[in-house]
């Protein structure tokens, strides 16, 4: 079946495909253009090349098992996706993460936000010809991802934020790592401001290009930095504070005109605010020290000792299970037997612990929230990232829907590029930071 544009295009104009595999399409999205010379008369955006049935898959996984799938939504800031899902679940279960875990969550989601914005600005600048900015930003992002990897063990597929808290406490050398990342990012931000803010080429390609009015931005359901670039104040962190964001001191930068340049500038300023939050969080973490783990027995000794009676001290866990010790749980996971993985010492040393372990992982048992539905959202890199979950009382979600901020942004692209030049598509598309993993689901 021919698409709308193919049917309606006039005979004199030229139809041109941009994408799905175009270097500036950030993944796979196809824009069918009707061109008169270089001018875009009409266009049609086609998405779905990365559709992998996220929602259907999740409906066939248990609440615990589906967490890794959320990493793969917005793969530049996976920790925010983890947080969005776990907060929705915690709302449904009536759980609250301990203080220390909440601060870690804020810290991690701000690090992710910075990496998200850095990537966006990097790609946008590169597509406008500023390759240096790309290299600087990716360098700064490497420091951030190193910090994340140090603690969570993965750069992108983290699955670090869990229902009830976080998977493990921060790495002992986290403070130095994050200090280094913040210092490096500050320096890069300063350099990028110097390289782009008054750069004539960059200004000509972004100033007053991709303009959107406040009414249109609202009508298209825009949220996040793109909505704020039009001057509308809406940030989920301020409007519906979660994880104790209301106790941090930060500002929400706003734009004025709603063009590509404003979207760039809002992202740059937001990163500065995120760095402020990170510094405050690091200070706050110092006030709640990590759990001191008691010296344990080697597994072999523990087994030998347990032949006669229950050993006095717990067995030492393998390093891959780090964070699953009972002592560590108090600071980073909520005290709820049904929603968190039972501590490993119990599983290995007592029959009750073993039963609890089986009950947690066995099909049909596990986490079973009460019947009902919940919508919960967090401020993602691109806007409001919402999870709508319907529970029917079993261990799998009856329905899980993701509100992807990118979808709403991209829906406006056709109207933003209409009547502009072909070359204007690239900075306009770049300034929106479309992440196809999240959009296509």
């Amino acid at each position: 079946m021919a698409s709308r544009l193919e049917r309606e295009a006039s005979r004199e104009s030229m139809l041109l495909n941009m994408g799905p595999s175009h270097p500036s399409m950030h993944g796979a999205v196809r824009i069918l253009l009707e061109l008169d010379g270089e001018r875009v008369l009409n266009s049609e955006v086609e998405v779905g090349y990365l559709h992998r049935g996220f929602e259907k898959t999740c409906e066939h996984r248990t609440y615990f098992n589906l967490l890794p799938y959320t990493d793969r939504l917005n793969y530049v800031s996976p920790l925010i996706n983890n947080l969005g899902y776990t907060l929705a679940m915690e709302k449904m279960l009536g759980l609250e993460a301990p203080e220390r875990a909440q601060v870690i969550r804020v810290l991690m989601s701000e690090l992710s936000r910075v990496s998200d914005h850095l990537t966006c600005v990097a790609a946008m600048a590169m597509e406008c010809g500023a390759f240096t900015v790309f290299l600087y930003n990716i360098k700064a992002r490497e420091f951030i991802w190193d910090t994340i990897e140090q603690t969570s063990g993965a750069r992108m597929t983290t699955s670090y934020i869990r229902i009830g808290g976080v998977r493990a406490d921060l790495h002992p050398e986290f403070r130095e790592g994050v200090g280094q990342a913040v210092r490096q990012t500050r320096q890069v931000l300063k350099d990028v401001h110097g390289l782009l803010d008054k750069n004539r080429i960059f200004l000509r390609r972004t100033r007053d290009v991709g303009l959107i009015s406040q009414e249109d931005a609202l009508s298209y359901g825009w949220t996040g930095p793109c909505l704020r670039s039009t001057g509308i104040f809406y940030d989920v962190r301020k409007a519906h504070p979660y994880s104790g964001y209301d106790r941090f001191d930060f500002e929400v930068p706003l734009g004025e005109r709603g063009d590509n340049y404003d979207r760039y500038l809002v992202r740059m300023r937001e990163m500065e605010q995120s760095l402020r939050i990170i510094e405050q969080a690091v200070e706050r973490l110092a006030a709640t020290p990590p759990a001191v783990l008691a010296a344990g027995l080697e597994p072999e000794e523990a087994i030998k000792a347990s032949r006669d009676r229950k050993p006095a001290s717990a067995p030492r866990l393998s390093p891959t299970l780090e964070g699953s010790e009972k002592d560590a749980y108090s600071g980073i996971l909520a005290d709820d037997g049904r929603s968190i993985v039972p501590a490993k010492e119990d599983t290995y040393t007592s029959i009750e612990g073993l039963i609890r372990h089986f009950k947690f992982f066995m099909a049909g048992h596990g986490i079973r929230p009460p019947k009902g539905e919940v919508y919960s959202s967090v401020e993602g890199g691109n806007g409001e990232l919402g999870f709508y979950i319907v529970s029917d009382g079993t261990d799998r979600p009856y329905r899980l829907h993701l509100r992807a901020p990118c979808l709403h942004l991209l829906a406006a692209l056709e109207s933003l590029i209409k009547g502009r030049y072909l070359a204007d598509i690239i900075p306009t598309f770049g300034s929106m930071n479309i992440i196809l993993g999240e959009l296509d689901r």
């Binding site: 779905g48 709302k91 359901g221 009902g372 539905e373 919508y375 319907v390 329905r399 979808l407 829906a411």
Partner: protein, 159 residues
């Protein structure tokens, strides 16, 4: 269940357009009359309620237990910082509802997504076709009767 101030205001403004209004886990939910849904949505968007953002639009397949599909809309009012969820049950024999594309611009794509994955027809939609999947895909994958690993017929490439 306790009714918030906003819900009673909505009940007062649209007495014949809503079936139920209640709060659930701190979220305000309204169940709308399917026939009067377009008028209700317009009333929610305009002043005095001023729900300027259509945050989300999706569907839940409850065909097995309640023999209907349930449309779920999330609206957001910036000035009073309030989210409102509107649910519209669609009977199994008539899976259609008025399109909101004339009221909110993002409804265009969101409705195409629901049409694609659930097969709900939106009346008055300017260009109703699949959003994620291709033309020629058989069935609507987010329906509960669609198996997880169903294979689709191979599709000839376009000339």
């Amino acid at each position: 269940m306790a009714e918030t101030q906003i819900l009673s205001e909505i009940r007062r403004l649209f007495p014949d357009k809503i079936r139920e209004a209640f709060s659930l886990l701190g979220e305000d939910v309204v169940v709308a009359e399917p026939k009067a849904f377009l008028a209700l949505a317009r009333g929610l968007r305009d002043k005095p309620l001023n729900y300027a953002l259509l945050l989300d639009l999706t569907c839940v397949d409850t065909l097995a237990c309640q023999s209907c599909l349930e449309m779920v809309y999330t609206f957001y009012a910036l000035d009073r910082n309030h989210r409102l969820r509107v649910k519209v049950p669609l009977p199994a024999d008539d899976l259609s509802i008025s399109s909101l594309a004339a009221l909110w611009k993002n409804a265009d794509w969101l409705e195409r997504e629901v049409y694609d994955l659930f097969g709900v027809r939106f009346e008055g939609h300017p260009d109703l076709r699949r959003l994620f999947l291709y033309d020629g895909f058989e069935g609507h994958p987010l329906r509960k009767d669609y198996p997880l690993r169903k294979r689709q017929p191979t599709f000839p490439s376009r000339k």
